[in-house]
Amino acid sequence: MLDASEGYTTEDGRKIGGVVMEMKNITLRFGGVIAIQDISFDIREGEIRAIIGPNGAGKSSMLNVISGFYHPQEGEVWYQGAKRPPMKPYEVARQGIARTFQNIALFEGMSVLDNVMTGRIRQMKAGMLAQAIWRGKAEREEVENREFVEKIIDFLEIQHIRKTPVGRLPYGLKKRVELARALAAEPSILLLDEPMAGMNVEEKEDMSRFVLDVNDEFGTTIALIEHDMGVVMDLSDRVVVMDYGKKIGDGTPDEVRNNQAVIDAYLGVAHD
């Protein structure tokens, strides 16, 4: 498991690479409440990794630990073969970890295009002065990155709303714009926090297709949290199951489905 060079091949024949990120014995406490207790798992290059669990299992906290918003009291985060020192969320983002949010966190006052362009912060480095006169590097950068962003916009089929202020969009489209913003960062790991929450069946299918396409087309590593078991089992290559802050299962969807602890803790209750 720890050998970074080792990979595996999925059922549908995709090659999964070595370990990109590894969580080692993470424990996160809020005062007396233990949100995450001694959890370890890894994320491999090119795979779709899911974290599932009932409400309050600590999934979102886990995602927040990965994106640097929470700092765990114990444990280590290893990223691209090196131990990650405690950093601010924006530093984590600049290392190539992009995410979406459970309760959409778009910039409501800006157009779709501007929202997606904010995803390119990592790639745009022109100084304030260059931007002020809008010549040379600043202008070149703006155009180059616009080209890339337009590709993402095409890919997610949101060309028609490019210049619409995000505040006016319906929920499903907002979710897609948020995905576009995260993708625009060309992330090495894409974190999706309940990408299908609050969607109807049709929108869920659309979103699942986009997630699979993203993984397929750009080879993006994806870690996602999801409530909808059906979706998770269809989409993901490997699944971590959490309950009350502890890890109770880890493996392929089939392994997890047959894991007695998982059935007891999560699914089993309903089947009793």
Partner: protein, 328 residues
């Protein structure tokens, strides 16, 4: 006792009294903020408006006399009667309640659920409007306000301290009255907020508009009530400050004095407003006494703000404010 220390003690006592008045204005802020999330910049102007109205009624001024004279070319100013202080105070209170109703109906009902900063800017607009309105209604000349409060040096304190320190403290009777009134008002407000039905409803509204609505609390009633209470506090503050230094434009600037008090005390805390007021009242007087002469004086203009600013950087929620928790 060394001479400097005696002087400092006198400065301290005067600062304490000034602090009580700051606290009084700050209380008006806290009340509205707790119940509606509105940070009412117009509180100071409300005090000015209340004082103007009080003087106007007592003196029998014709409202809008200047405007009427300008439009119709008349020369009217006074009705020619005088109203006793107590009656005038009651009439002024009626006007303040009416003002509360108008402010709520015309402005803040339309701004429900807006961001606090938008509400704040709206109250700045209200302050401007009310200032112009008050001046047009009653004229902008400096007026003397006398509702029969005792004024001038307190001879008893002067004599007693003279006997002890060989130096008589100058403590104004009015300041003593103000301190007592403010203390009573604070107690009354705390009892009102904690133990009456309306007070409970007010706190419920402050917590969650919709939840309060769903258990049958009338939001409009609560808001008008809160603005009325703030109007009452403004009236009391207006009487105190107006008696002390005349009813004039600068009275509205006490709002600016109360702001750092709130930053220090926390915007949602009644005890915070009191402690903050005392700390700033004493602090600025002592600072001016000790450091002022070295840097050219008039440090009262900024001391409170800089103190509050430095304090906020280390404790953003203020002395007694609730801790701010951020989540994604």
């Amino acid at each position: 006792m060394p001479e400097q220390l005696v002087f400092a003690t006198e400065v301290f006592l005067n600062g304490l009294m000034a602090g009580v008045l700051y606290a009084l204005v700050a209380l008006g802020f806290v009340l509205i903020f707790k119940a509606s999330g509105i940070f009412n910049y117009a509180q100071g102007v409300m005090a000015l408006f209340a004082a103007l109205t009080l003087v106007g009624i007592m003196e029998g001024q014709v409202p809008f006399a200047h405007l009427i004279n300008a439009i119709f070319g008349t020369e009217i100013h006074h009705f020619g009667w005088h109203v006793p202080g107590l009656v005038a105070i009651i009439l002024t209170m009626v006007i303040m309640v009416a003002l509360a109703w108008i402010v709520n109906t015309l402005i803040f009902r339309h701004l429900v659920n807006q961001e606090p900063i938008i509400l704040f800017m709206a109250t700045i607009g209200l302050a401007y409007f009310l200032e112009g309105f008050g001046d047009i209604m009653w004229g902008s000349d400096i007026k003397k306000l006398d509702v029969g409060l005792p004024q001038g040096i307190n001879l008893w304190i002067d004599e007693t301290t003279f006997n002890i320190f060989d130096y008589g403290f100058f403590i104004d009777n009015l300041d003593i009255v103000a301190t007592v009134v403010a203390a009573l008002l604070v107690v009354a407000l705390v009892i009102f907020a904690q133990y009456t039905k309306q007070g409970r409803a007010m706190r419920a509204v402050a917590d969650d508009h919709q939840a309060a609505l769903s258990v049958g609390i009338s939001l409009n009633f609560i808001w008008v009530m809160v603005w009325s209470v703030a109007g009452f506090v403004a009236l009391v503050a207006g009487i105190m400050w107006g008696t002390k230094s005349g009813v004039q434009f600068s009275l509205s600037l006490i709002a600016l004095k109360a702001l750092p008090v709130l930053m220090l005390g926390g915007f949602t805390s009644i005890p915070g407003a009191i402690v903050g007021g005392l700390v700033i009242g004493v602090g600025e007087k002592l600072f001016e006494f000790a450091i002022g002469p070295l840097v050219g004086g008039a440090t009262e203009n900024w001391f409170a703000y800089v103190l509050a600013l430095i304090f906020l950087v280390f404790r953003p929620q203020g002395l007694f404010g609730e801790k701010i928790i951020e989540r994604v």
